[in-house]
Symmetry: C2
Subunit: 160 residues, 2 copies
């Protein structure tokens, strides 16, 4: 930036985000959920990762969508399973040397084990037992297979 003077009539520069060389593009994320996707990827606060994020972009397909790009990283299955819970229409694009090498949708699993903490403090999965949490994935939320507790909103805050 040359000088601090107020500059009027200068057009805002676009094109902040270049294509990535290697990494993952997560597209068609449910509108507004990108920061929760970053949390699932362990990206919070200060970061050395090269990421690009756009939220609530207009999209013919779903109305509004978010997009997350992460350079030099391919996602692990556990990460993709967690993303599926909050963004069931997301697509995962793996980029190598600027080419889309793989492109697939996330799978909504029927059950998730060890992914979500049961909000019921009395649930056996919250006792000091060697039992992982287990939820059935329903069209409108999750159901604990141990205590029947249902999670119907703010799912991302329960993800482990």
């Amino acid at each position: 930036m040359r000088g601090d003077a107020i500059r009027r009539r200068r057009t805002e520069e676009g094109l902040l985000i270049r294509p990535i060389r290697n990494g993952t593009v997560i597209d068609h994320i449910t509108g507004g959920e990108a920061l929760n996707v970053l949390k699932i990827l362990g990206i919070t606060g200060s970061t050395t990762e090269e990421i690009s994020v756009a939220t609530n972009v207009e999209s013919g397909k779903t109305g509004r969508k978010d997009v997350v790009k992460v350079e030099n990283r391919e996602l692990r299955k556990e990460e993709v399973d967690r993303i599926a819970l909050i963004a069931p229409r997301a697509t995962i694009n793996i980029i190598r040397d600027y080419q889309v090498c793989e492109k697939h949708r996330v799978d909504s699993p029927r059950y998730v084990t060890g992914v979500v903490r049961c909000p019921n403090p009395g649930c056996i999965s919250n006792a000091n037992e060697p039992i992982e949490s287990r939820f059935e994935v329903l069209p409108a939320g999750l159901r604990c297979t141990y205590c029947d507790w249902r999670i119907t909103r703010d799912l991302s805050s329960h993800i482990i």
Copy 2:
């Protein structure tokens, strides 16, 4: 997306981020601090805001920088003061009708009041007294004017 088949040799699409019509572009953020800037703006988890973020972008000026764009929002002074603490070289660009209408650097103030919580539990600013926290801004951190406690790292976690 037509079909879910793996598509090879397709080039990754760039240009995710369009120029914004009205809003604020925060440029030259210290590399890796964009998500902390979002926290200061109250943008965490699910959001209805239209934001774009790029982290650790190469920049001739500072090595690596982050950029945050927020549509339909101009920042309040308290927000800019907080951003100055974690990104002292940031520039704030106010966009109206696609034009850069104002452009200025953040100011590192000499003192910040009510912005940072003192980590010393015995500090009077943490007692139930009608006293706001107050820190002197030093070249390498902050100093509590009540108890002399110094904060030299992980500043963003202490911002109120």
